[in-house]
């Protein structure tokens, strides 16, 4: 059980690096943005994992009389970050759409080639 206690962090590391791989290795700009979303999701997971307390429940008081609650602070940060994340992703997609209109391509190297000409 001790080792299982770190599983969430490992998944965080792997997910983060999968997203990072998509960002650095893929040439398609939309794919890069998808990788960035995965990267974001990994960070969200890390924060929420750190906020979990054994035997606790969500930090919303109820009549049930539970006294152990998970940490509300990471949840607040991530809750806002999700909405900010989708807005910034939309901004990135907007830039990609404009690039497609100007260059006729969304592949990084093709855009660079056109720029060099």
């Amino acid at each position: 059980m001790e080792i299982l206690g770190l599983y969430n962090y490992w998944v965080f590391a792997i997910l983060l690096m999968i997203g990072f791989y998509a960002v650095i290795a893929k040439r398609n700009l939309v794919k890069k943005l998808i990788g960035l979303s995965l990267f974001q999701a990994a960070v969200f997971l890390l924060y929420i994992t750190m906020g979990k307390v054994d035997g606790g429940t969500a930090p919303i008081f109820s009549d049930a009389g539970t006294t152990i609650f998970s940490n509300p602070l990471p949840q607040v940060l991530i809750l806002t970050a999700i909405v900010v994340g989708i807005s910034t992703t939309a901004l990135g997609l907007g830039i990609v759409v404009r690039l497609k209109e100007e260059y006729g391509s969304i592949e990084e190297h093709e855009i660079q080639e056109i720029d060099e000409q």
Binding site: L4, I34, G51, A58, E107
Partner: protein, 324 residues
């Protein structure tokens, strides 16, 4: 047992992520992102983060897929080139992953109540929320009052992103050469989705309002409600076509909503100064400081909800109106 469920869901998440990176079909990647969002929302719920799971549900299920698909419709569905420097990138990524995993061994165990992150400010929030604000949902209390300044910043980031998208896509020559009347009709000829969708829209709106105003008592709040209400109107736009949706809420009105939300938020903050407190100190808004806090949270949550609705809808319309 629940720990095992979490581990299973996380494993599925990793498989999905690998599949997302491996496929060269962007449409498939977007679909798999939808699955990843569902899995991660389930996980958030298992990790006691009901509010976060609701946000992920509201944003990930509808809006994110719709935005990616409309971007794909304007660009292309296939990745043409193979990856560059695959071996090098893979080495870098694998090394970094190993270092990160090595670092996790120093982390406190999952769910440890004595972990540094649990003993610093969180107990204070949990202890003082009933005293100062007296609402059941501590997340909303922290979001709206204790860390209201953070949230103001986030609202302005969302607002700025919306303005940025409008600058990029808001005007200009449409890309496609399609006849407008043919494209703008949405799914009007698909009778079954249309009928069911029209039945659902009022309920989604109602649910959005419930999430907005029930946010102090259960999972919910402005961010989730804004996304849900935006999703309802996006559903209308999908069913009835862009043009009708724009005539229901014109772009000008959306711009007004986008600007009004942050203004309302700041106005509440300034009202605190005028009434003799600090910026975003709601205690002075009413003669009873607890009542004042509750009123302040209600108002700023409304501001957040209005901003998020306005921004997400403007972004959607900017994409949908382009190149159609």
């Amino acid at each position: 047992m629940i720990v095992i469920f979490g581990i299973f869901l996380l494993t599925l998440l990793v498989i999905t992520a690998i599949a997302i990176v491996r496929t060269d079909n962007l449409f498939v990647a977007v679909m798999l992102m939808g699955i990843a969002s569902l899995l991660i929302a389930g996980n958030f719920f298992l990790l006691d983060a009901a509010d976060v799971a609701l946000t992920e549900a509201a944003v990930g299920a509808g809006i994110s897929t719709v935005l990616f698909l409309s971007a794909l419709a304007l660009t292309s569905e296939r990745e043409r080139a193979r990856s560059s420097n695959r071996a090098l990138s893979f080495t870098v990524v694998a090394a970094a992953a190993l270092i990160l995993i090595y670092a996790t061994f120093d982390k406190p165990r999952f769910g440890d109540p004595q972990a540094p992150s649990q003993i610093h400010v969180a107990p204070w929030y949990l202890e003082k929320t009933p005293e100062y604000i007296d609402i059941p949902n501590v997340v909303t209390a922290v979001l709206g009052s204790f860390r209201g300044y953070d949230t103001l910043g986030e609202v302005f980031v969302v607002f700025t992103a919306g303005i940025g998208v409008l600058f990029l896509l808001g005007s200009g020559v449409p890309l496609g050469s399609l006849p407008r009347e043919k494209i703008n009709e949405g799914l009007r000829h698909h009778l079954i989705p249309r009928v069911v969708g029209r039945v659902l829209i009022p309920f989604i709106l109602l649910f959005g309002l419930y999430v907005q105003f029930h946010g102090e008592y259960g999972p919910g709040g402005g961010f989730q409600a804004g996304a849900i209400i935006a999703a309802a109107i996006i559903l209308f736009a999908l069913l009835e076509g862009e043009r009708r949706a724009m005539s229901v809420i014109p772009a000008r009105a959306l711009l007004g909503l986008m600007a009004f939300g942050p203004l309302l938020y700041v106005a509440v903050g300034v009202a605190g100064i005028v009434l003799g407190g600090n910026f975003l100190d709601y205690s002075v808004l009413s003669s009873d400081s607890v009542k004042g806090q509750q009123l302040g949270i209600l108002l700023i949550e409304a501001g957040v909800g209005i901003t998020v609705t306005g921004v997400l809808l403007s972004i959607f319309h900017a994409f949908a109106a382009r190149g159609r």
